[in-house]
Symmetry: C2
Subunit: 105 residues, 2 copies
DNA sequence: TATATCTATCGTAATTTCACGATATAAAAA
DNA sequence: TTTTTATATCGTGAAATTACGATAGATATA
C-alpha cells in the first residue's frame, strides 16, 4: 500500500545549523574563526599575512563567513577589523550542542 | 620590510573539524544525523520514505556522511541499516566544543 | 593633487556539489 | 528459476565552490 507518506520537511533549525556548518566547512575558515575567537577581533592584514593563500581568496572566505552571519567587519580606514558576531556565534554553539546531545532540532 | 612571514599552516585538527563541518553542511544530512542520533540506527528505507528527495539523492548524502566517517552501514539483506560511527561522532563533538570554547586546535 | 595603502570585487578556470532518472546488483520470495 | 525488493552506482546538467591575478575604490599621506 502506497498510503500516507510522512514527508518530514527539513526544519528551520536544521537549515540554520546546516548553514553554519557549511560556513565552517573549510580549513581556512576554521582557522580564521579560531583566531577571531581567541583574540575577539583582528585586522584583515593580519590574516593575509598569516594564511598562505592569495588575499583575494581570503577576502572570499571572509565574505562567506559574513554571509553566514558568523563575523562582521568594521571599517577603520584604511583597514578593516573583523570580529565574531557574538549572537550568531552563540546560536551556532547552541545548535551544534543540541545536535550532539540529540535534542530535537 | 618584507621580513619573516609567519605562515601558520592549517593544523591537522582544523582540517579534521572542517571535514566534519562540511559533512554537516547540508540540511538533509543534518536531518539524517538527527534521526540516527535519536534512535541510534535506522534503515535506508525509512529515510527515503521520510525525506522528500529521490532515493539516489539520499544515497549520495549517505555516502558523503560515510566518507566523512560519521556513519556506517550494516548490510542486513536486503536492507541496509545505518548507524552513527560513535568514535567519529564523539571526536566531532569534541572538536566543535573546542572551537566554541576557543581552545587551541 | 598625486601617490601609497588596504581591501573588495571582477573575471576566469578547474573542481565539487546537488539533484535526478536509469541502470546494475544482490538477496529474498514466489 | 523468475520475480520482487532494497539499495548503490552511473551519467548528466545546473549550480556552487575554490583559487588566482588583475582591477577598482576609498582613504591617508606626501
Amino acid at each position: 500500500m502506497e498510503g500516507i507518506v510522512n514527508n518530514v520537511e527539513v526544519s528551520i533549525m536544521e537549515k540554520r545549523l546546516a548553514k553554519y556548518a557549511k560556513a565552517l566547512g573549510h580549513p581556512v575558515r576554521i582557522q580564521i574563526l579560531n583566531i577571531l575567537n581567541q583574540q575577539s577581533c583582528c585586522f584583515n592584514g593580519y590574516l593575509t599575512e598569516i594564511i598562505p593563500f592569495a588575499k583575494s581568496t581570503i577576502s572570499q572566505h571572509l565574505k562567506s563567513l559574513k554571509e553566514a552571519g558568523l563575523i562582521q567587519g568594521e571599517i577603520m580606514p584604511p583597514k578593516i577589523r573583523y570580529c565574531l558576531n557574538k549572537d550568531s556565534w552563540e546560536e551556532a554553539q547552541q545548535l551544534f550542542k543540541n545536535l550532539f546531545n540529540s535534542q530535537k532540532l
